[in-house]
């Protein structure tokens, strides 16, 4: 399968996302001014500070030519993964519910977090077991997930909460400990922690993040490696 990794001015985790995707398939970078996804089976919107995070994180990136193509791809059912700033971009683009607000502590925080898989029946989590714990690093200032009460209820009822921070791990103040959410259709997924930074035990101390990419490959190719 082939991944396209969107690259904005200010992206900084694009190359790690590229490396992680290449552990399970082919992957190419997609510059923000390009519109052609070149036959990619899945898109990753990576972490960083797209367009300097001016105004609000993700607010300007959402209008880039590449994101217009990604939004059309998502509407047709294509798999789209947003990590950190990518999650913020997808929320701003209304491809995912909710918004990411400044951490309750107001501080940038970089740490390993323990996550719990709430829904293992999504194209992004099918290589995991329900209730499984994943150890993945997070690093952000604006990661406090917020949505209105009725949205939160609807999300829970329809299994849109895919990952949550395990007990005592919700360092940013996200409502209902939500760490990763999918859209209603199930083909768009965003999370604040960085699975692409946890794909090699040697340097990350955990390769749990690889399960997200492996899940996507399984969803596209339909078979175990």
């Amino acid at each position: 399968m082939k991944f396209a990794i969107v690259q904005f001015p200010g992206s900084c985790d694009d190359l790690d996302a590229l490396g992680a995707a290449r552990l399970v398939g082919d992957a190419e970078l997609l510059w923000h001014r390009e519109r052609d996804l070149k036959g990619a089976d899945a898109v990753v919107v990576p972490g960083g500070f797209s367009y300097g995070d001016y105004l609000r994180a993700g607010a300007i990136a959402r209008f880039s030519p590449a994101m217009e193509s990604v939004a059309a791809f998502a509407r047709e059912g294509g798999l789209v993964l947003g990590i950190c700033n990518g999650f913020q971009v997808l929320c701003e683009a209304r491809l995912l519910p909710g918004a990411l607000l400044v951490n309750a502590s107001r501080r940038f925080t970089c740490r390993q977090v323990e996550l719990e898989v709430v829904n293992a029946e999504t194209p992004f989590s099918r290589a995991c077991a329900s209730g499984e714990r994943l150890s993945i690093p997070a690093k952000h200032s604006w990661g406090r997930f917020y949505a209105e009460d009725r949205t939160l209820r609807a999300m829970r009822e329809s299994g849109q909460v895919v990952l949550r921070y395990a007990a005592d791990q919700n360092f940013n103040g996200s409502l209902r400990d939500i760490a990763g959410v999918r859209n209603e259709a199930g083909n768009v997924f965003g999370l604040m922690p960085h699975p692409e930074h946890a794909v090699e035990e040697l340097i990350g101390g955990s390769a749990d993040g690889l399960k997200i990419f492996e899940s996507m490959r399984l969803s596209v190719e339909g078979v175990l490696a």
């Binding site: 609000r56 607010a59 300007i60 209008f63 918004a99 400044v102 951490n103 107001r106 209105e148 103040g173």
Partner: protein, 72 residues
């Protein structure tokens, strides 16, 4: 023209809380309900465009309220 953008009531505003806690430390004890927002200044000929500008880009209506001030 100016657009004032502020966090919606009821959503935790850590910046406002920090300022509210800092003021009494400087001797300004009689302070409550501090919220910190943004001010966008801009010139446009067609003021009817301001609202869609706010809805699409200047504010995130899910978490922020905005107020358009025409006369400066």
């Amino acid at each position: 023209m100016r657009v004032l953008i502020r966090p919606k009531a009821g959503i935790l505003d850590p910046q406002g809380v920090a300022v509210e806690r800092a003021l009494p430390a400087l001797g300004f004890a009689d302070v409550a309900n501090v919220h910190v927002g943004r001010l966008v200044e801009l010139d446009v000929n067609d003021v009817a465009q301001l609202e869609p500008m706010c809805e699409k880009l200047l504010a995130n209506p899910l978490v922020e309220d905005y107020e358009i001030l025409l006369d400066v």
